[in-house]
Amino acid sequence: MNWDSIQTSWQKAGNPLDASTIGRLVASAEQRDRELHQSVRRRDRIETTVALLIAPFFAFFTWIALGKSLWLAAAASALLSAWSLFVPWRLRQVRKLQPDPTSSTDMLTYLRAEKEATQAQYKLLHGILCWYLGPAGIGVILLFFGIRGWSAASFYYSLAVLALYLIIYLGNRRAASRNIAPKIEQIKCQINEISRGEEP
């Protein structure tokens, strides 16, 4: 086959756009860029605001509980206060790893960055018990026990919290295994393919 003529035909086949379409595309890109920027700022603002509202609330509650010698409740609310600041920080750290196509880096470097970011997401979901459910669950259960004492209500409340958290935990692990793990494998294959530089 004559690949030179195929190349020429291929290049001719791309339809050039008229000026009005180009103008519309640029305006649309500008608009979407603005919206994207605004939505990222809005999301960061909401996360920070929620953390800054919850953390002082639990910190204040710790102070009150200490004043009343409710040691268990004080320890639990201190844990919840620290946790409410830690969660948005942890989410932001993982988000920062996401590679940006605008950096115009070569594909191999881009895929390696994407693999790292996807693995971080996988660890985030897979390890949700350690950084999210565990501290939050322990915190709310101990807080309830600290306030209500060792009662049947505390026991049933703890069971309800544990059941809910178990469902969330299993759901997240399932999402990590079913949605994110195959993506990591796919990226690894692409990286190997470029690195090997061999057969199609």
């Binding site: 086959m1 291929w10 595309l25 640029v26 950096s103 881009y110 994407e114 796919q186 199609p200």
Partner: protein
């Protein structure tokens, strides 16, 4: 602002000069109504990265790096439609090249993302060195890969080529 107007005009010129190439990228990595979505995503990423474009000599590598990285990410996020390859149409050995365009699309879509990128950039006229630069690979590796891709296409679609 004059600067932003100049930037917008420069970007419009860039899109006008490369609209065909970008459409090819979108058609090779997306299907049906998703082609338009991917094209918009590529335009957005090119717009956002316009400051990183350093000059005319690098336009090929810059454009394809942004477009292909965007396309691969886009494809990762969406479910891929599949194309039946059970009974591929075959071309006579002396076939008119225009008639082979739709088969080229079909062949491109059957390839892995990396091979698709290599063949696409070759068809768009990028040199082996430029393709290697976009991929982060070696020029020799690109040459070997391209030869194998051409042979694979001919074996699949061209009569009397095996």
């Amino acid at each position: 602002l004059p600067e932003s107007i100049a930037q917008t005009e420069a970007f419009e010129n860039l899109l006008a000069a490369n609209s065909g190439r970008l459409q090819h990228v979108a058609r090779c990595y997306a299907f049906g109504h998703e082609v338009e979505d991917l094209l918009q995503e590529i335009h957005l990423q090119l717009w956002r990265s316009r400051h990183s474009f350093a000059g005319k000599s690098q336009i090929n590598t810059w454009l394809y790096r942004v477009a292909l990285n965007t396309a691969i990410s886009f494809k990762c996020r969406r479910r891929q439609a599949t194309i039946s390859m059970e009974h591929p149409e075959r071309l006579p050995a002396n076939s008119d090249t225009d008639g082979s365009m739709h088969l080229l699309y079909e062949f491109l879509q059957s390839l892995s993302e990396v091979n698709r990128s290599v063949l696409l950039m070759y068809l768009e006229g990028l040199s082996h060195a430029e393709i290697a630069e976009v991929l982060g690979s070696k020029t020799n590796a690109v040459a070997v890969r391209l030869n194998r891709l051409k042979r694979a296409f001919e074996n699949r679609y061209v009569e009397d080529s095996a």
